[in-house]
Amino acid sequence: MMEIGYYPGCALHGSSNDYEKSVQACMGALGARLKELDDWICCGASAAHVINKTLSVALPARNLGLAERDGVSELLAPCPMCSMELIKARRELVDNPGLRQKISEIVEIGLEGKTDVVNLIQVFQKIGIETIRAAVKMPLEGIKAACYYGCLLTRPASVLQFDDCEHPRSMENILEVLGAGSVDWNYKTECCGAGMTMANEPLMLELSNKILANAKAHGANCLVVACPMCHVNLDMKQADVERQYGTNYDLPVYYLSDLVGLALGLSEQALGIDKHFVVKR
């Protein structure tokens, strides 16, 4: 059995524990065991980089150091903010020996930048599209998904280089081997407003509405995401969007791991899909 290091980050242990359940179940079905990093701390996303540059490297660097200490060669961070922060920090540590020295002293762990950090799409790519194709038991017929990447899954382009940051195709490629269809649409990489959920809800509703409306207009019958924040906005807040704009979308929002899991024959309960707000009719 393949073992992959696992960094849940705050969301997967809190508001998005359905995502954790989904990722854990799906990985297990693919023969990969997730080993959670012992004593992990906040990745620093959303706040640290605007306050203090050193802090914004040190927070993810400590987690990288823990992974190195435990001999983890691959670390899965299913939240794209976490994975982006970790990948970016690793790059900076590798490129700048002076910074690496300084940060090593701050976090009190020797750092070499050996651990490869991957997000959810990349982990499926590592496992192998063909391996997944071979493992499919229940092809997903009837699904026409709008794959939604949001802001950070593919950006910044210089940090995340696994797909075209403006016109990504990697989720569609995975859906294809699951037997699911996908639609061409326009809001794949637009912002859902997650950063503004607390501060400016009307703006968040407007941005999410555009995404849902465009997906619907292009014939999608569900959305697929790989980010806990996107999921909160598009799933939990979908009713608020509908109320605000007098519309009715009824678009279930799946994590990419949900669809892989379903195709592998797992139940909705096993994947935590029953915890979602919008249910498939």
Binding site: A157, S158, D164, C165, E166, H167, N186, Y187, E190, N214, A217
Partner: protein
């Protein structure tokens, strides 16, 4: 050899501030063989040079050392002075006591001591300098011009009119280049074809021009004044000597749906075709991939049946011809940067956000030229590619790729501001109730009547100029939703457009690297060919006898390309004004008596300047084999000297013995 003069220059304060020139002169006067040692404030000045000349004459000097600046600055000056005084110019040495000494040291005593040592070495060297004569090289007064766009056409006609034979090679089936496909040109809006086609015809008919279209340069050998060029004439499947250009073949060819390269895939052509009606030569080629007969090896054959002249040759093959020329002008022009995701090099990335290649109505600026050109696929009527509707709202985006380091191009493509202004005008003149919007970073309109032209586009033709970038183009309900920013008002802008035109960056034409390597011409990080000096030698290259003009050197517009082409032709004429050429004689020489014919030098020479030769007696009997330096090619780098195991190779004017003498003088 014992009558050496040493001339120490103060270079004003440059040397004298740090080096005690009087002390250097005093010391130098005591070196073996030195007859006279003097110092002077500006040795390169007229009085300084007279001092050198008079000393040579008075003291009957047989060698001089000038201790001053770098030989790059003034070696020529002092060699000329020596020659004027009757001394062989190759018995002049320079000791660089400025760049190598006074400019880089602070301590006066130490700098003076170093200057003395530098002079000592030069004296030791000059005492063993052989008198040399410049090498005379014969000159073929014919020129090769590569590329028959407007620059290549101009250069060829200039040279041909001056009475020189020109070999003009063009890769495409017709001459004319990019300009032949343009609609109207800025800043006068004169029709591009109307001004170009007479020149194309002239090229086709000129008795001094040998035109090879649908041909490429295969290899280049030789050197300044004596190049041998092999040209690949690609199989045309049409006998040019028989074809009358009547058009029966392409009118009747049933293979119609082939994308036209000349229309940038916006229109169609036959499998046997001329790219456009005014093509020169007006002789077709067969596109073997799309021709039924050629791709399947049988069937069709309609063109052959229709050709009254019997010019169709289905069994045609590529042919290699050889031409001898004395000079080469490169005018291979440009192509547009690919906007979409697929790029030809990892260095470049595309703009996924603009949807080029995904949305039919997002086109590049050369495609727009064809859409508004009378000879274009729509006959000059502005119809958008997706459904043929007249676009009422058109967005033009400048700097697509240009000035964007993130996409791999840091440079300004220079012509886009102007042609985008022109595009908005042409659009408005065709669609009176339409609106043109331009997203720009800056408007760069330097040039005669250029800024006035842009103002006209804005003020008279009402183009809506928005300073800012476009972040995304999407398609909704048949409209292109263009979202961007107006950075002057600081607000986001959304325009529902019917068509979007992207001013893609200019890049050198395909194959430029291979060609540059064949010609031994340098290129920059963007693959634009390097001129020899950015200001003073703008059309020369570091490869002697090879010149550049047009957009292969840097992005430029038609007037500039034409001016540069005439400049290149002028430089070739300067060369051709002489009966023979001379080269510096400081090159390698092989002692053929001691050469063991191992030919290590032949393999090591970076210029292919060493031949394997045979020495035979009168009856033709082989005495020995030897390496022999081609004095036309040798650049005097000394690699052969370093590799020769029998010490048979040596450099004239820089022999191993001289280097040994220099070292010995110090120890």
């Amino acid at each position: 050899m014992s009558r050496i003069g040493v001339f120490i220059c103060w270079c004003g304060e440059n040397i004298a501030r740090t080096v005690d020139v009087a002390k250097v002169a005093e010391e130098a006067a005591r070196f073996p063989g030195v007859r006279v040692a003097v110092h002077y404030k500006y040795m390169c000045s007229d009085p300084g040079q007279s001092l050198v000349r008079e000393s040579i004459a008075r003291e009957k000097l047989d060698g001089i050392v000038v201790a001053s600046c770098s030989p790059h600055m003034h070696l020529k000056t002092f060699r000329a002075a020596a020659k004027a005084a009757g001394l062989n110019p190759y018995r002049v040495e320079m000791a660089n006591i400025r760049e190598h000494c006074s400019w880089v040291h602070h301590n006066r005593d130490e700098a003076t001591a170093k200057a003395i040592q530098l002079v000592r070495m030069s004296v030791a060297k000059v005492s063993q300098n052989n008198p040399l004569d410049p090498i005379r090289v014969p000159l073929t007064k014919r020129a090769l011009v590569i590329g028959a766009g407007v620059a290549g056409i101009q250069a060829s006609l200039d040279l041909a009119d001056a009475g020189h034979e020109v070999v003009l090679v063009e890769r495409e089936p017709s001459v004319g280049g990019k300009m032949a496909g343009l609609s109207e040109t800025f800043p006068t809006l004169d029709c591009s074809q109307c001004i170009l086609t007479p020149r194309m015809v002239e090229v086709g008919q000129h008795s001094n021009i040998r035109l090879y279209t649908y041909s490429e340069v295969e290899s280049v050998e030789g050197y300044l004044g004596n190049f041998t060029v092999k040209i690949r004439k690609k199989a045309r499947y049409v006998d040019m000597s028989k074809c009358t250009g009547c058009g029966e073949c392409w009118t009747n060819c049933p293979s119609k749906k082939n994308l036209s390269e000349f229309d940038y895939n916006m229109g169609f052509r036959k499998a046997i075709y001329i790219p456009f009606p005014q093509a020169v030569p007006a002789r077709p080629v067969i596109d073997s991939k799309n021709c039924t007969r050629l791709s399947k090896g049988k069937g069709c054959g309609i063109c052959e049946k229709k050709c009254a002249a019997g010019a169709i040759m289905y069994d045609d093959v590529d042919k290699i011809v050889e031409e001898k020329v004395g000079a080469i002008i490169v005018a291979t022009g440009y192509k547009l940067y690919k906007i979409g995701q697929e790029q030809d090099s990892e260095k470049y990335t595309g703009y996924g956000e603009y949807g080029y290649g995904q949305y039919k109505d997002v086109i590049d600026s050369l495609q727009f030229e064809r859409l508004v050109s009378a000879s274009g696929p729509t006959g000059g009527e502005l119809k958008r590619p997706s459904d043929g509707a007249t676009p009422k709202n058109v967005v033009f985006i400048s700097c697509v790729g240009s000035r964007d380091n993130a996409k791999g191009m840091g440079y300004c493509s220079k012509i886009c501001c102007m042609y985008t202004a022109k595009h908005t005008m042409l659009y408005k003149h065709k669609v009176h109730d339409g609106q043109a919007h331009v997203f720009y970073m800056d408007i760069r309109a330097g040039g005669k009547n250029y800024d006035e032209f842009v103002r006209r586009a804005i003020e008279q033709d009402g183009a809506d100029y928005i300073r800012g970038r476009v972040s995304k183009i999407t398609e909704e309900n048949g409209k292109l939703i263009v979202r961007g920013a107006d950075t002057l008002t600081g607000s986001p802008v959304t325009i529902e457009a019917d068509m979007v035109v992207l001013a893609a960056a200019m890049r050198p034409a395909d194959g430029i690297e291979e060609l540059a390597q064949k010609l031994k011409v340098g290129y920059d990080e963007y693959r634009f060919l390097s001129e020899s000096h950015p200001k003073l030698r703008p059309v020369e290259t570091n490869s002697a006898g090879v010149f550049v003009c047009g957009a292969c050197q840097a992005p430029k517009d038609i007037p500039e390309a034409v001016a540069q082409a005439s400049a290149a032709a002028g430089k070739v004429q300067v060369m051709f004004a002489k009966e023979e050429l001379t080269r510096e004689p400081e090159i390698a020489k092989v002692n053929e008596q001691t050469c063991a014919a191992c030919f290590a030098c032949v393999r090591a020479c970076p210029y292919n300047a060493i031949d394997k030769a045979e020495i035979r007696d009168r009856s033709g009997k082989l005495i020995k084999r030897t390496a022999r330096v081609n004095s036309g090619l040798c650049m005097g780098c000394g690699t052969c000297v370093a590799v020769c195991p029998s010490k048979s190779a040596d450099l004239e004017g820089f022999s191993e013995q001289q280097i040994y003498a220099m070292v010995s003088s110090l120890v």
